[in-house]
């Protein structure tokens, strides 16, 4: 078993859109024009120079009873399954049944595969109580379906997502972290970095996908994540206009509420973005020293296979 990911879900649930937007930089407004997927398609993902895996995306019409050898081989390498449900396509019976069948098929080939369900297209204009209703309803439907089929022991993690805000990035990141062996070590390293510089929150991002590979143990606030992931765009866009993206760089954004966002290139495609109070940024050389310490610590972690 490698660390690959397989994705299932009915047609037009949003699987291809998410993959294209995250990994192939497709503009969100162009996802409406995408053609349906054929059988199974795979995407090779490289995050920085140390993280490599494949995503196998199965068509919405994929017949689980008719798996060909390459597809079986693909499922065998997967340690993680993402099922995407279109929350705007009620009733959910068909989607829920297909989920149950997909889990059965994949678990046959890869018994330790983790199951994650994206309750997708829960767009920003939907009110919070409606969001909760959807979450509860779908969770219940799935739980009932699994019970009916004596599959109570299967654990499914749920994520509420939309491509129109940062939730898709947030949850895809959290799911990817399940297949990264280093997340815990990097978290410890980030904790000590934060402490040394009086930083409130840090994220380690892969900048092309905007997925975050690790964070510190401080509480996760969506707004912090949003600001940091948007800062990547500012850095990339300005750097592409005035210089080359390959060069190491840094950026700072000062906000009117007294906080400051600090962006620092760590190595190829990997950057550290931190949030702190601007009054704590007294000695920039101290920050630079600690970032170098962080880089060295990270290099050590990646050396361990």
């Amino acid at each position: 078993m490698n660390n690959d990911i397989c994705m299932f879900g009915l047609t037009k649930s949003g699987k291809t859109s998410m993959i294209r937007v995250i990994f192939q930089k497709l503009e969100i407004f162009r996802t409406f024009q995408l053609d349906p997927t054929n059988r199974m398609e795979s995407v090779t993902v490289n995050l920085g120079s140390h993280i490599h895996f494949k995503i196998y995306e199965f068509s919405g019409h994929y017949d689980l009873n008719d798996s060909q050898p390459p597809e079986i081989a693909a499922m065998e390498t997967c340690s993680l399954m993402i099922y995407v449900i279109d929350s705007q396509a009620e009733p959910f019976n068909e989607a829920v049944q297909y989920l149950r069948q997909a889990i059965q098929t994949v678990k046959q080939r890869s018994p330790h595969c983790e199951c994650h369900c994206f309750i997708h297209k829960v767009d920003p204009d939907i009110e919070d109580n409606k969001k909760n209703e959807l979450l509860q309803q779908i969770q219940k439907d799935i739980s009932d379906e699994l019970s009916k089929n004596s599959m109570n022991y299967i654990k499914v993690d749920f994520h509420v997502t939309s491509i129109f805000d940062h939730s898709y990035l947030e949850h895809f990141s959290k799911v990817i972290q399940r297949i990264l062996p280093y997340s815990q070590s990097i978290q410890t390293l980030l904790d000590s970095f934060n402490l040394s510089c009086k930083i409130e929150k840090s994220f380690l991002f892969e900048i092309y996908s905007k997925l975050y590979l690790a964070s510190d143990s401080q509480h996760f606030h969506s707004t912090n994540f949003q600001l940091c992931s948007e800062m990547i765009d500012v850095f990339i866009d300005v750097t592409c206009i005035y210089g080359k993206l390959d060069d190491a760089g840094q950026s700072q954004i000062k906000l009117s509420d007294g906080s400051i966002l600090i962006y620092q290139t760590v190595n190829e495609g990997i950057s550290l973005i931190s949030i702190m109070k601007s009054e704590n940024l007294e000695r920039p050389f101290l920050l630079e020293y600690n970032i170098n310490q962080f880089r060295q610590g990270l290099a050590q972690i990646f050396k361990i296979k």
């Binding site: 407004f29 005035y242 906000l255």
Partner: protein
């Protein structure tokens, strides 16, 4: 004579219905992100919105709903209400309309511009050919030139000045380019600002200086010490910073300063006057952000001690420079 009196400038925004007029000004002035304009409904009448710009400039934007029966009223019963005292008309075409639909657009355009020339003879006209994201990159130039010819021809002979024709889309920087130019035409004493910025650029010895309006991030002016061909980049900056600003607003915070530094360049963006942000770009790697911010803050300090309009402040700054 100081510019302390509030100047109201009337701006008409017209075009057929669903062409994207309301979405456009929501994005530029009301800080709606592009991916939320789908929720904007049809404009049923004329919506007036006022925006403060550059201190004492007030823009009164008349967003005129574009359904046919409304258009008929504008040209007849409401003609003098709509078309009098207009400084700028912005007419929006939908790039996707061809054949009969395009001809109808052109006819409505001609009637609009005719009415305008009768009621506001000094008005200037900007034309936006919108939704260009629907056209393949390779075909954009041809489509633009073809439509441009037809549009200019329709306005021929009328006593009105078409200042410029732009291709725009809400999904890239072309929207910012068009609106920056439109708004620059309304700023009183724009020439004083240009001269002042030029002097400031030389004093700071940086390669590029750009002045942005604070809440829209539209470009007021830019100066370069070396002649560069890529003017598009400033519009891209407007777009980039505005996007980030929108995310900030969710946390009730505003941008105060942005620095981006790499081996080969330093870009420094800071609050400048009450209504502007300034950007300085250096390609000398030895310049430290601290030195740049010192220059800018020095200029700001001079400003703080002066009353008066933004342009007066800038004039004073230039006179004070050694």
């Amino acid at each position: 004579m100081s510019q302390n009196e509030n100047k109201m400038k009337k701006m008409l925004l017209m075009g057929q219905h669903k062409v994207g007029k309301t979405s456009m000004h929501s994005i530029i002035f009301a800080n709606t992100p592009p991916n939320q304009v789908m929720q904007i409904g049809l404009t049923v009448d004329v919506n007036q919105n006022s925006f403060k710009f550059m201190g004492n400039l007030k823009i009164n934007l008349w967003d005129c709903g574009g359904q046919d029966k409304l258009l008929q009223e504008y040209f007849t019963t409401q003609k003098s209400t709509i078309f009098s005292n207009v400084e700028v008309l912005i007419y929006v075409f939908d790039v996707d309309k061809e054949g009969d639909l395009f001809i109808k657009e052109l006819n409505d355009f001609k009637t609009t511009v005719t009415s305008l020339s009768e009621c506001s003879p000094g008005a200037i006209v900007f034309v936006l050919i919108h939704k260009f994201d629907k056209i393949k990159e390779s075909e954009r130039k041809i489509v633009f030139e073809r439509k441009y010819k037809e549009i200019i021809q329709r306005a021929d002979g009328l006593n009105i000045e078409i200042k410029d024709v732009f291709s725009t889309s809400i999904w890239d920087e072309t929207l910012y380019k068009a609106w920056s130019q439109i708004v620059q035409n309304l700023i009183p004493n724009i020439n004083v600002i240009k001269e002042s910025l030029k002097a400031f650029c030389q004093t700071c010895s940086c390669e590029e200086v750009v002045l942005f309006e604070k809440s829209t991030f539209l470009i007021i002016d830019f100066q370069e010490t070396t002649e560069k061909k890529d003017i598009q980049k400033y519009e891209r900056l407007s777009n980039i910073i505005k996007q980030f600003k929108l995310t900030c607003m969710k946390t009730q915070a505003n941008i105060q300063a942005i620095t981006v530094k790499s081996e080969k360049f330093t870009v420094y963006i800071d609050e400048f006057t009450e209504n502007t942000f300034i950007m300085l770009a250096y390609t000398d790697p030895s310049i430290y952000p601290a030195a740049i911010s010192h220059n800018v803050h020095h200029a700001q300090k001079l400003f703080e001690s002066i009353q008066g309009s933004d342009t007066d402040k800038l004039k004073y700054l230039i006179q004070r420079r050694p």
